[in-house]
């Protein structure tokens, strides 16, 4: 196992991106509110 891989228990690295509707989405903005399922897509377009 690569020790640098993301592992349970650690803080999820925060990021901010624009969604398909142009809204800024910051991962940490869900803190205290919602669990988040993060799905990294394969690239299928």
């Amino acid at each position: 196992m690569n020790p640098s891989l993301i592992t349970p228990g650690e803080l999820a690295p925060d990021f901010e991106l624009e969604d398909v509707n142009g809204n800024c989405i910051r991962l940490s903005s869900f803190r205290g509110k919602n669990p988040v399922v993060l799905a990294f897509l394969r690239g299928f377009f």
């Binding site: 993301i6 988040v36 377009f45």
Partner: protein, 105 residues
Amino acid sequence: MRDHYPEFAIRGAEIVAVGTDSVSSFQEYWKREKIPYIGLPDPEKNVPRLYKQEVNLFKLGRMPLNCVVDINGRIRYVHFGSSMADIPDNETFLHVIDQINASSN
């Protein structure tokens, strides 16, 4: 996950999908397939890099990577796909979310 979105929504969970395709392909796909959750195009690949999503050896694409983040912002579950089709089923995610919700009540 699209067809099961209500099961996530009812648990207060959000689904956030990050991909490296262009903004326009993302928008088209989201519209055409009526995807109800958040789609984040990242053609610069910064976030996949941050999360160390693996690239398929044959350059056919990226390997699937799925995480569940709890309400404290901590990784609760992580799954690095070992093949292009290796994505956990919805039950797995819902189970983790139920555990998060049970422990935060």
